[in-house]
């Protein structure tokens, strides 16, 4: 394959485009998770009692809420991409594979939605006293 036709495939083939987008998304979320994941584990160490009130006040602190939403979004996205690869590797039957991939995506979207709503609820409750 000559150089020009290789470039052509990279830019025109939707399958290759999807693959490089997947690759980049996985790496970018990985970089985010190095940062936000470390922050989360350090936070876990610093908790005193893990009791409800402590957790609510900590999660509801604006800075922590922002960090948690960033951590949560990169986490669900990275997890969804990773499980996609595993499904593609082990589920061979085309219609079942399609079903599993869409189930995986939907589950992660629902989880992300729950996470965002929960964080908003905690913040609003604290804001209203």
């Amino acid at each position: 394959m000559n150089y020009k036709s290789f470039i052509k495939i990279i830019f025109n083939n939707s399958l290759v485009k999807g693959a490089s987008a997947h690759w980049w998304s996985q790496r970018l979320t990985a970089l985010c998770l190095i940062f936000f994941g470390s922050w989360f584990l350090v936070s876990l160490i610093m908790f005193e009692s893990y009791q409800y009130i402590e957790m609510r006040d900590w999660i509801g602190h604006p800075l922590n809420s922002i960090m948690l939403i960033m951590f949560g979004l990169s986490l669900t996205y990275h997890s969804s991409l990773g499980l996609d690869v595993i499904i593609e590797d082990y589920v061979h039957q085309p219609s079942l594979r399609k079903f599993c991939l869409s189930l995986n995506k939907k589950t992660h979207l629902i989880l992300t939605f729950i996470l965002i709503v929960a964080l908003i609820v905690i913040d609003l409750e604290l804001f209203n006293g």
């Binding site: 970089l31 584990l41 609510r56 729950i114 929960a118």
Partner: protein, 124 residues
């Protein structure tokens, strides 16, 4: 003439597992384990938001010995995926691919995982 099955090339079970292969499998396995752990993370925030008694119940489970063992394994999975993930990002720059370097980085990942998991539980 009896038909004999076609000869197969040697399978995984034939070889002694090289450290690089173990880590490759572990990266995928810990990824799945951490995806399950993500459910607990979301349950943790969701119960704080919607259901105080649900949170107390979650805390009770996580503080039981079975919960603590599970949390320990999750922390191990986290640090292994974390260290090996950094190794993958290093590889993505096109470096570290010869046999010696690949084995050295594998050992570093195992060392790092052990150290980080120990430190985490010692100061927690």
């Amino acid at each position: 003439m009896a038909t004999r099955p076609r000869p197969l090339s040697p399978h995984l079970t034939i070889y002694r597992w090289p450290i690089t292969m173990i880590l490759s499998i572990m990266h995928r396995a810990t990824g799945v384990v951490l995806s399950i752990g993500m459910l607990v993370f979301i349950a943790w925030i969701a119960t704080v938001a919607f259901n105080e008694s649900g949170y107390d119940f979650l805390l009770l489970i996580l503080k039981s010995w079975l919960g603590q063992v599970t949390l320990f394994l999750w922390s191990f999975a986290f640090f292994l995926h974390f260290c090996n993930g950094i190794r993958h990002l290093y590889w993505d720059t096109g470096r570290g691919f010869n046999k010696d370097k690949v084995e050295l980085s594998a050992r570093l990942v195992l060392l790092g995982t052990t150290l980080l998991t120990s430190i985490f539980w010692l100061i927690k």
